[in-house]
């Protein structure tokens, strides 16, 4: 695994040059191995999951326009490979936490789209009976320790789960997703040091979509290569292509294989891009159209679709069929959420304190 130190000099800015979609010819050995490991069935499943995240969120946008969803709505579109790829490489027992941009992470964690949509509709069948909303998806069953509204707020929580795993000698890992903007919070730095000092099984994943709201990383960070944050804390750090599912999957799979037995942390920077504005109310006029186009060219979902076609794992008809199924699933989720009743008003006072 490459560290920041031995990758020095490599520019990390995908945004500056046009990247080509991956093909069988351009597969790196690590990605090839990932493909073999996943097999046709595994890769189709991940393709389906990415497509589900995309379709689910497209539907969320519509539901927001129809005022079925309120409050803030932060979409993950464009970043699907990161959550789906990385979560495919861990087990059910491992812990996950993230920011308010949590729909993709929750779906990739295997939480039913019905339950998530019901939460977005503020209904009783939602994950938190409507008390959390878009930014705060929690699932004890799925070891999802929350979508967090305060930038960087999830980092110490994920660190605590890693500490707990090591304390209990459970072999569990804790995946902590955070944005490029969150790197500038003190919490990130405090937790990086503690994780390294105490060799905790934490994987810090910087989802570098290159903007925190309207501020590009060049205006918020003194360094552009976030893997450089590892060495200062004596922590291994690696850059992955966040538009490439196989890259995301394989890095975490390799990291986890080593760390289960001998806990230690890892820092991953996943270079990615959000297609939409920061939230649904942000028109994102600070970004140029051709920048978005550049990333559309390497769309994480189409890349895997064409790779599988090239490898004769999924032909056009099969892909269409699968996509129709997924769209039906999302329509079903919306109908379910629509029909789910609002929770009783007494729900308001529930769960303030543990009984």
């Amino acid at each position: 695994m490459a560290t920041a130190a031995n990758r020095k000099g490599r520019t990390s800015n995908l945004g500056e040059r046009r990247k080509q979609p991956i093909t069988l010819k351009t597969l790196k050995p690590r990605w090839k191995r990932a493909m073999e490991e996943l097999g046709r069935e595994g890769l189709v499943a991940l393709y389906r999951q990415m497509f589900l995240v995309r379709s689910f969120e497209q539907r969320c946008e519509q539901m927001y326009q129809q005022r079925k969803i309120g409050g803030f709505l932060h979409l993950y579109m464009g970043e699907e490979a990161v959550g789906v790829g990385m979560l495919a490489a861990i087990g059910k027992d491992d812990y996950v936490c993230t920011s308010y941009r949590d729909h993709g992470i929750a779906l990739a964690r295997g939480i039913a789209s019905r339950t998530l949509m019901a939460e977005l509709f503020g209904k009783v069948d939602g994950l938190s009976r409507g008390k959390g909303g878009s930014m705060h998806f929690y699932s004890k069953e799925h070891n999802l320790l929350g979508g967090h509204g305060i930038v960087g707020g999830q980092i110490p929580i994920g660190l605590g789960a890693a500490f707990s795993a090591k304390y209990r000698d459970s072999g569990q890992m804790s995946l902590i997703f955070l944005g490029d903007g969150a790197v500038q919070q003190g919490a990130f730095h405090e937790c990086m040091n503690i994780a390294s000092l105490w060799k905790l099984p934490a994987i810090f994943i910087i989802e570098n979509n290159q903007y925190g709201m309207g501020t590009s990383t060049s205006r918020s960070s003194a360094v552009q290569d976030f893997t450089s944050k590892g060495p200062g804390y004596n922590m291994e750090a690696i850059m992955v292509d966040g538009m490439n599912l196989l890259d995301c999957y394989s890095v975490v799979a390799d990291a986890v294989a080593v760390r289960r037995k001998k806990p230690k942390p890892l820092l991953i920077e996943a270079k990615t891009y959000r297609y939409r504005g920061h939230s649904i109310s942000d028109p994102a006029t600070y970004r140029k159209k051709d920048e978005i186009e550049r990333y559309r060219d390497i769309d994480p979902i189409s890349q895997i679709r064409s790779l599988m076609a090239e490898n004769s794992w999924l032909d056009e008809a099969q892909a269409k069929e699968l996509e129709r199924e997924v769209r039906d699933e999302v329509v079903d989720a919306v109908n379910f959420a629509d029909e789910s009743p609002p929770s009783d008003v007494a729900e308001r006072g529930q769960h303030v304190y543990a009984e």
């Binding site: 409050g71 960087g152 309207g214 729900e347």
Partner: protein
């Protein structure tokens, strides 16, 4: 003396612009305040007008840039630190409480901290538990801080100018839902002193006391009180600390009954302090125990109907008014 009809957002913007024009040591710093013109557009145009030396976009490092403001204030500058919302000031709480509030005292009067920390606070619309905190009472608790919570464009402008000129750290809590509300504001230069409340509506039966957005809710609800045959007097203290007890006492001596309505929680909320002050000063004037209408004792839920039953309402205030009037 002419007036102009402007929004709260414009009023705040004008206050900052006028003061920045007057005093070069004033700068504005916060997330998205410069190039994006503010998450809620309160700082619109200020970067263009004053340039990047005076208007700063920060990384998401509240503890750092808020503390920076304190250090700058201790060394000759007059910072305006914007929190995108006050929920994010929790990250900077150590600097606000341990340094902004206490430095003048700890240094035996050597270092004052002339600084404004401002941004929207309170509930918006379905933004959930972590984005809806009401922090007025938390800041008001600490000696050394002043706390302003304006409800009209005029007050926002006059009080923000005063806050900027104040040599103390001032917590200036705006309300997201009021940014678009318009009102008459004097065309010529003016300021409003802290610790001076305003009578929003005159009446004889019950004194209602409210800050910020709640004033609008109650003003709109006045016809409903009238339907019940209740004549209310609405007092807006405008600043939480210092608190204008005189204006409250005058009203209480007339109505003898008080309902305090607040967006924050009941336990140790601002209303608890206001009630205590009234009991100390106006005990003999009161014909009934003071009633309080507050945010329910739960974090604010996302679902609209649960949110609605968590926040104070006109209906609840009418019930409280009837209680202090001993009418069932």
């Amino acid at each position: 003396m002419g007036t102009m009809n402007i929004t709260m957002r414009e009023a705040l913007n004008q206050a900052m612009a006028e003061e920045m024009e007057r005093d070069e040591t004033i700068f504005l710093m916060g997330e998205e305040v410069a190039e994006y013109n503010g998450a809620y557009k309160v700082s619109e145009g200020l970067l263009d007008r004053f340039g990047p030396k005076r208007v700063w976009d920060t990384p998401i490092s509240e503890n750092g840039f808020c503390g920076l403001g304190i250090g700058a204030a201790m060394t000759g500058l007059r910072p305006i630190i914007e929190f995108m919302t006050f929920n994010f000031a929790f990250v900077a709480m150590d600097q606000i409480i341990n340094n902004a509030a206490k430095t003048l005292y700890m240094s035996g009067g050597q270092f004052s901290v002339p600084m404004v920390m401002r941004g929207p606070g309170g509930a918006a619309a379905q933004v959930g538990a972590q984005h809806s905190s009401v922090l007025d009472s938390i800041f008001a608790y600490f000696p050394g801080l002043k706390v302003v919570s304006p409800s009209t464009p005029k007050d926002a402008k006059g009080l923000l100018k005063t806050a900027i000129r104040d040599d103390n750290p001032v917590i200036f809590i705006e309300n997201e839902l009021l940014y678009g509300v318009s009102g008459e504001v004097p065309e010529e230069e003016f300021t409003i002193p802290m610790g001076e409340g305003a009578v929003r509506a005159e009446g004889g039966d019950v004194t209602l006391i409210a800050f910020s957005r709640i004033n609008h809710m109650l003003l709109e609800g006045i016809p409903e009180f009238q339907k019940e045959g209740i004549s209310v007097e609405l007092i807006d203290p405008r600043t939480v600390k210092p608190l204008d007890l005189d204006i409250i006492a005058r009203s209480v001596s007339k109505t003898h009954r008080v309902v305090i309505v607040e967006e924050g929680h009941r336990f140790a909320g601002v209303g608890a302090q206001v009630a205590d002050e009234i009991y100390q000063r106006c005990f003999d004037d009161l014909d009934a125990p003071i009633a309080r209408v507050t945010h329910a004792e739960n974090p604010l839920p996302y679902a609209k109907h649960l949110e609605a039953v968590s926040l104070p309402s006109v209906a609840e205030t009418i019930r409280a008014a009837k209680a202090v009037l001993y009418r069932a």
